[in-house]
C-alpha cells in the first residue's frame, strides 16, 4: 500500500512514504511525507509539532508481545487466557477503541456481542454529550473541505486547536485559499469564545472571554438574538460576563456571513451543562440557517474516535455506552458508560483497547479496575497495561499497521504504514480472541445441552413427585 521511493539526496538508501496519514488527532492529516531510515522515521514533512513527535519519537517497545500476570507468555496463550476471562465473566466490560483502526473496532464490537459484554468508547469522556445532543436536535454539519472552500465566519467555542489540532487553521478552517475565498485568511472572520485567552485566541479577530460555566446561557442568548427575541442587557451581562452589545455585534456578523462554521471542544462538552451545552450549540447552528448557511462540528481529539462512534452505530444502532448482556444492544449513558460501571464496581472483568483508564478515570473507577482481571492492548507500557492480567504489546496503527480511520468529519481515510513491527497488530489478536470465544461458547452450549438431556425429567421441575 505504501509508496516507496528512494531518497536520492541522502548518502545511504532511505525510503519515503508519500501521502501518509497522521492519526495523532482528529484532523487525520493525510498529506505527510515520511522518510524512513532503517526502523526509524527521520522526517515527517508537513506534520505539525504533535505529528512530528508522534512519528519521529516512535520506537517499538522491546517488551514481550504478551505478558500474563507480568510474566512473558506467547501471544497464543494470551489469546486463550483473554477468551476464558471474557467468556467466564458475569459482567465483562470492553472499553477504549478510539486509537485503533475501524477494522479492530468492528472485531471488538463483535466480541462484545458474542460474550454479552458492555462496550463503551472514549467518546463517553469527550464528545459523548455531543452524541446525546445530536439525538435531541440533530446536527447541521459539513465535511472540512466545505469549510475550507466556503467558510467566511469561523467560530471556535471551548476549543483550542492551536494546541490540540495544530493544522486545523492551516489545512481546513482559517488560512487556506478556498474555491470561494480566493484570499484565504483575509476573506474570513475568526471568533474565539473561551473562558481564558488561549493560544487560539491569538489567531482570532474577535475574542470573547465568556464567564466560566456560562456557555449554556451565552449560547441561548445568541439563539434568542438569532430568533429576534428581546433580551435584558443586565441579565445577559450578569449571566455571561459579556455585554449584550458584544453578542449583538457577533450575531450581526454571523447573519452577514455567507457560510459560517462553529467548531467546539471539550470546553463546552465537559463543563457545567455538558450535553445541554452541546444541544444549545447544535440548535444555534441550525437556527442560523434561517438567515444564511451555517454548520457546526465537534473538534474530535483521538485519531479514530469518530470511527469508534461510527462502527458502534452501524453494528449496534448506538454510538457509545452499549450493553449487550441481554443478547441485544441497549443504550444508556451513565448506566452503560465505562467510568460509571467501574466506579459502581459492577464489571468483573474487562478488556481495554488503546486507552489508559488507569491514568485518567476517577479514583473509585481505577480502584475497581485494579481489583478485577482485565486484558489490555497498547503499543506502550502504561499504568493500564501494568496492572493487567493479560497485557498485549501491539503494533501502532498508522505507523506499523494499515487500516481505516475516520476523520473528525466522518471522512474515512486509509492508512499507509511506514515501519514493520515485531509486535502483532491488535486486529490479529482480537480476531484470535473472537475465534476462541466462539469456540468456548459452542463448547459451553453443547455441554449445557448434554447436561439437560442427561438430567432426569423430574429434576427440571424440582421434586414435586
Amino acid at each position: 500500500m505504501a509508496t516507496v521511493t528512494p531518497d536520492a539526496s541522502s548518502e545511504h538508501e532511505l525510503k519515503v512514504i508519500t501521502d501518509a496519514t497522521c492519526t495523532f488527532c482528529g484532523c487525520v492529516c493525510d498529506d505527510i511525507d515520511l522518510t524512513v531510515d532503517g526502523d526509524h522515521i527521520i522526517k515527517a514533512k508537513r506534520a505539525c509539532v504533535l505529528g512530528k513527535a508522534w512519528f519521529l519519537n516512535h520506537t517499538a517497545d522491546d517488551r514481550p508481545s504478551c505478558l500474563i500476570q507480568g510474566q512473558a507468555a506467547s501471544v497464543e496463550a494470551g489469546i486463550e487466557r483473554a477468551a476464558e476471562l471474557l467468556v467466564s465473566a458475569r459482567y465483562p466490560l470492553i472499553y477504549g477503541l478510539s486509537d485503533t483502526t475501524s477494522e479492530s473496532q468492528r472485531t471488538a464490537v463483535g466480541i462484545a456481542d458474542w460474550v454479552g459484554a458492555n462496550i463503551d468508547t472514549t467518546s463517553s469522556v469527550c464528545h459523548g454529550p455531543t452524541g446525546m445532543a445530536l439525538q435531541g436536535v440533530g446536527e447541521v454539519t459539513a465535511s472540512l473541505g466545505e469549510v475550507r472552500n466556503r467558510g467566511d465566519m469561523i467560530i471556535f467555542w471551548g476549543a483550542n486547536p492551536a494546541e490540540s489540532h495544530p493544522r486545523h487553521f492551516t489545512r481546513y478552517s482559517l488560512t487556506p485559499k478556498g474555491m470561494f475565498l480566493p484570499n484565504g485568511r483575509k476573506d474570513r472572520t475568526c471568533v474565539v469564545v473561551d473562558v481564558r485567552k488561549t493560544k487560539s485566541a491569538n489567531a482570532a479577530d474577535i475574542f470573547i472571554p465568556v464567564k466560566p460555566r456560562s456557555d449554556f446561557e451565552a449560547l441561548w442568548a445568541l439563539r434568542a438574538l438569532a430568533n429576534d427575541v428581546e433580551l435584558d442587557a443586565n441579565q445577559v451581562l450578569h449571566d455571561t460576563g459579556i455585554e449584550l452589545s458584544v453578542w449583538q455585534d457577533l450575531m450581526t456578523r454571523m447573519k452577514a456571513a455567507k457560510f459560517g462554521a462553529i467548531f467546539f471542544g471539550m470546553g463546552l462538552t465537559m463543563t457545567r451543562g455538558k450535553h445541554a451545552n452541546a444541544e444549545a450549540l447544535l440548535a444555534l447552528a441550525r437556527d442560523m440557517n434561517k438567515h444564511t448557511r451555517f454548520i457546526c462540528k465537534p473538534n474530535r481529539g483521538h485519531g479514530n474516535v469518530t470511527g469508534a462512534d461510527n462502527v458502534m452505530a452501524w453494528r449496534t444502532g448506538y454510538p457509545f455506552g452499549v450493553n449487550l448482556m441481554r443478547g441485544y444492544p441497549r443504550f444508556n449513558p451513565g448506566e452503560y458508560t465505562a467510568s460509571d460501571i467501574l466506579a459502581r464496581q459492577e464489571a468483573d472483568a474487562a478488556m481495554i483497547i488503546a486507552a489508559d483508564p488507569m491514568a485518567n478515570f476517577s479514583q473509585p473507577a481505577r480502584d475497581h479496575l485494579k481489583s478485577i482481571p482485565y486484558i489490555a492492548f497498547d503499543p506502550k507500557e502504561t499504568p493500564t497495561t501494568r496492572a493487567a492480567e493479560v497485557a498485549f504489546t501491539v503494533a501502532t496503527y498508522g505507523i506499523n499497521v494499515p487500516g481505516t480511520v475516520y476523520r473528525m468529519d466522518d471522512v474515512p481515510i486509509s492508512l499507509r504504514p511506514a515501519l514493520e513491527c515485531h509486535h502483532p497488530s491488535d486486529l490479529e489478536i482480537l480476531k484470535g480472541i473472537e475465534k476462541q470465544v466462539q469456540k468456548l461458547n459452542m463448547k459451553n452450549a453443547i455441554a449445557q445441552s448434554k447436561n439437560e438431556s442427561l438430567r432426569p425429567a423430574r429434576d427440571e421441575f424440582g421434586s414435586s413427585e
Binding site: 500500500m1 509508496t3 508519500t18 501521502d19 496519514t21 493525510d30 498529506d31 475501524s102 468492528r106 463483535g110 456481542d113 458474542w114 452524541g131 445530536l134 439525538q135 436536535v137 440533530g138 446536527e139 447541521v140 454539519t141 459539513a142 465535511s143 472540512l144 473541505g145 466545505e146 475550507r148 472552500n149 466556503r150 489545512r171 481546513y172 478556498g178 474555491m179 470561494f180 455567507k258 457560510f259 440557517n289 434561517k290 448557511r293 454548520i295 461510527n310 452505530a313 452501524w314 453494528r315 449496534t316 444502532g317 448506538y318 454510538p319 441481554r326 443478547g327 441485544y328 444492544p329 443504550f331 481505516t404 475516520y406 466522518d410 471522512v411 474515512p412 486509509s414 466462539q438 452450549a445
Partner: protein
C-alpha cells in the same frame, strides 16, 4: 468427483424471465448456481420437497438506504425508536441488532433475508464516503449489495459540462465509478444541492434554472450525464432523483426530466414523490398527476421507474437532497441532520410520520399505488418504499396485498382522508396483480433494469437465490414470512428461521476510460479537496467478495 447437487422439487415455480408461470418444476442447484437437471441416474445429494409451495427467485431491492454515512447518521439520531422497538437477539452463530426505521447492519441483512430478498442496493453514497459504505457492507450479512454513487452536484461534472467537454465528462464518470467501486451513477436534485450550499433555503424551482458558479442548468446535467453513461454502456446507466421532490406541482419538473433524457435509458426513482399537481404549497390544489406521467412512461420505453410507496406510520426521511431535508424539518419542526460533502453532495435527515387522516399523506399513499396500477408493463415499474423514506422495506408484503386484492385496497382507501378520492383515480382502478406480476416487480424486473444477468430468474446459470413461500389467501401473510430462503445455494432461512450468518457479494463496475483524464482531475482535486488525490480511490481489499459487472461501451 462432481460437486454436490441440491434439488428443490415439485414447487409451483414463478420465473417470468423464462416464461414460467406457476408450473410445477424441479430446480437443480450446484456450487451456488442453478444448473440443468443432471442425466438420469444421478441423484441429488440433498432434496428440498417444495410440493405445494410457491418458488420464486430471491427478491431484488433496487432502491433503499441501508449503508454509508447518511444511514449511520440516521441510526445515531434516532435512539428513541430502538428503545421500545423489536430487536434481533444474538444466537450462537449470528449477531444481534436493533431495528427502528434505520436498522443496524446485521438487523438489515437478517430482515431482508427473512423477507425473501437476496440483493439490495443503497441508492445514495457520496464518493468521499464510499469507503464507509463498503465497510458497512462487509458487516451487512446474508444479502448481495451494491450502491449508487452521487454525482448530480459534483463540481468536476459541472465544470466539464460548462466547458462543453463531453469527452472529459465521460472519462470522469467512468473514473469515479471505478475509484469508488460503485454500481451506478446517481443524480439527486441535480444542481439544486449546489444552490442550497450557496443560499439559505436555496434550491432550484425548475430544471432550466442556472446553478451558481458553474452556470449550468439541471437540464444540461441530466442530458449530458445520461448521454455519457449510456455511451459507457453501464449495466444501469443513470438513476435519477428528480428536482423538486415532494413539492406541489412538481409533476412538470418530472415530465421535463423525462424529456431531458433525450431517449437515452434512464431510471426515475421514487416517482411517487414527483407526481404532484397543484401549486404554491397550497393543500387546496394538491392532487395526483400519475395518469399523465404514467402515460408518458407507457409510450417511452427508454424509461423505467420505482415507486417509493408511502406507508402510514413513523419513519425517518433520509436523502442526498440537502434542501429537501431542510424543507421537511420546517414542515414537521423536529430534529434535523444536514451534512454537506465538499465538491460532491448534500444530505438531509428528519423523522417523519405519515398519517392516514392527513390529506397530503393519504394522497401520497394513493399516488404510489396508482403508479403500480397505471404502468401497463410490469417490467418497467419496481416495488420500493425508498426505505426508510416512504416506509420500511418490511412493508413490502402489505403493498403486495394492496396490489393483489382490490377489495382490501378499496377498504383501506375508504378509511383514509375522504378528499383523496376526488384528487386521484385510485378508486376507479380495479386491476389486481397476479403472482407472476408480483414476481416481476419485486425481482425479475429490478434485476433486468439493473443489468444483472444472474439475478431475478431461475434459469440455468442464475445465482441460486431462491425464495419459497407457503401459499395463503392473504398475500401479506404469504409474503411476510417465507418458509425457506436459499442464498447462493445455501439455506439461510429454514422453516422460517435464520440458520447461519453468511456475507454476500458486492456488485461494482469499472468502465474503461481515457487515463489522461486523471492528471486533470488530480490538479483540480489537490486545489479543492481536503484529502489527497492518491488517498481517494478505494482499493480492492475494501470490496467484500467483489463481483465486477461488465460494461459494453458504445461509440459516441
Amino acid at each position: 468427483m462432481s460437486k454436490p447437487y441440491f434439488k428443490i422439487s415439485g414447487g409451483y415455480v414463478y420465473d417470468p424471465l423464462n416464461g414460467v408461470d406457476g408450473q410445477v418444476q424441479d430446480i437443480w442447484v450446484q456450487d451456488g448456481r442453478i444448473v440443468p437437471a443432471p442425466v438420469a441416474g444421478i441423484r441429488a445429494d440433498r432434496t428440498l420437497d417444495a410440493a405445494g409451495y410457491v418458488v420464486m427467485p430471491g427478491g431484488v431491492d433496487m432502491h433503499c438506504h441501508i449503508a454509508g454515512p447518511k444511514v449511520n447518521m440516521g441510526r445515531k439520531m434516532r435512539p428513541e425508536e430502538k428503545r421500545q422497538g423489536e430487536v434481533i437477539p444474538r444466537t450462537l452463530t449470528t449477531h444481534s441488532g436493533t431495528l427502528g426505521s434505520v436498522p443496524s447492519t446485521f438487523a438489515t441483512g437478517f430482515k431482508y433475508i427473512g423477507l425473501g430478498y437476496t440483493s439490495a442496493f443503497d441508492a445514495a453514497v457520496p464518493p468521499l464516503s464510499a469507503r464507509h459504505a463498503h465497510e458497512e457492507f462487509a458487516d451487512t450479512p446474508a444479502i448481495d449489495k451494491g450502491f449508487y454513487v452521487l454525482m448530480g452536484n459534483n463540481h468536476f461534472m459541472m465544470k466539464s459540462i460548462s466547458e462543453e467537454n463531453p469527452k472529459q465528462l465521460k472519462a470522469f464518470i467512468a473514473w469515479l465509478l471505478g475509484a469508488t467501486k460503485a454500481y451506478a451513477p446517481k443524480l439527486v436534485n441535480p444542481g439544486g444541492v449546489e444552490v442550497w450550499k450557496h443560499h439559505p433555503a436555496g434550491n432550484v424551482d425548475t430544471i432550466d434554472q442556472i446553478v451558481d458558479h458553474y452556470e449550468v442548468t439541471p437540464r444540461q446535467i441530466i442530458s449530458e450525464v445520461a448521454r455519457a453513461t449510456n455511451e459507457l454502456g453501464l449495466p444501469h446507466p443513470v438513476h435519477i432523483h428528480c428536482n423538486n421532490l415532494g413539492m406541489p406541482g412538481n409533476w412538470s419538473t418530472t415530465l421535463n426530466t423525462m424529456d431531458a433524457l433525450n431517449g437515452f435509458k434512464g431510471h426515475l426513482t421514487h416517482i411517487q414523490f414527483h407526481s404532484y399537481g397543484g401549486g404554491e404549497g397550497s393543500e387546496e390544489s394538491f392532487c395526483s398527476k400519475t395518469t399523465e406521467l404514467a402515460d408518458y412512461i407507457n409510450t417511452h420505453d427508454n424509461l423505467t421507474v420505482d415507486v417509493g410507496q408511502v406507508m402510514f406510520g413513523k419513519t425517518t426521511s433520509m436523502t442526498g437532497d440537502g434542501p429537501l431535508g431542510y424543507f421537511l424539518h420546517n414542515v414537521y419542526g423536529g430534529k434535523w441532520l444536514s451534512v454537506d460533502t465538499e465538491m460532491e453532495s448534500g444530505c438531509g435527515i428528519a423523522p417523519i410520520e405519515y398519517r392516514n387522516k392527513s390529506l397530503v399523506h393519504a394522497l401520497q399513499w394513493a399516488i404510489g399505488l396508482e403508479w403500480y396500477l397505471l404502468v401497463e408493463d410490469p417490467w418497467r415499474v419496481v416495488m420500493s418504499t425508498d426505505h426508510p423514506n416512504g416506509g420500511s422495506f418490511m412493508a413490502y408484503p402489505q403493498i403486495i396485498r394492496l396490489l393483489m386484492d382490490a377489495t382490501y385496497r378499496n377498504d383501506v382507501l375508504r378509511s383514509v382522508h375522504p378528499d383523496v378520492m376526488s384528487r386521484c383515480v385510485l378508486g376507479d382502478i380495479d386491476r389486481e396483480y397476479t403472482l407472476n406480476e408480483i414476481c416481476i416487480i419485486t425481482r425479475a424486473g429490478p434485476a433486468k433494469i439493473l443489468g444483472l444477468k444472474h439475478k431475478g430468474h431461475l434459469g440455468v446459470g442464475a445465482d441460486a437465490d431462491i425464495t419459497i413461500y407457503s401459499p395463503h389467501e392473504n398475500k401479506e401473510v404469504m409474503f411476510e414470512m417465507p418458509r425457506y430462503v436459499i442464498k447462493s445455494g445455501e439455506i439461510l432461512i429454514d422453516e422460517c428461521e435464520l440458520k447461519q450468518q453468511t456475507f454476500g457479494k458486492t456488485f461494482n463496475v469499472a468502465p474503461a476510460y481515457d487515463v489522461e483524464v486523471e492528471a486533470d482531475i488530480a490538479d483540480w482535486f489537490e486545489q479543492y479537496y481536503s484529502v489527497q488525490f492518491r488517498n481517494y480511490p478505494i482499493s480492492d481489499d475494501y470490496v467484500h467478495d467483489s463481483e465486477l459487472v461488465d460494461c459494453h461501451e458504445k461509440e459516441s
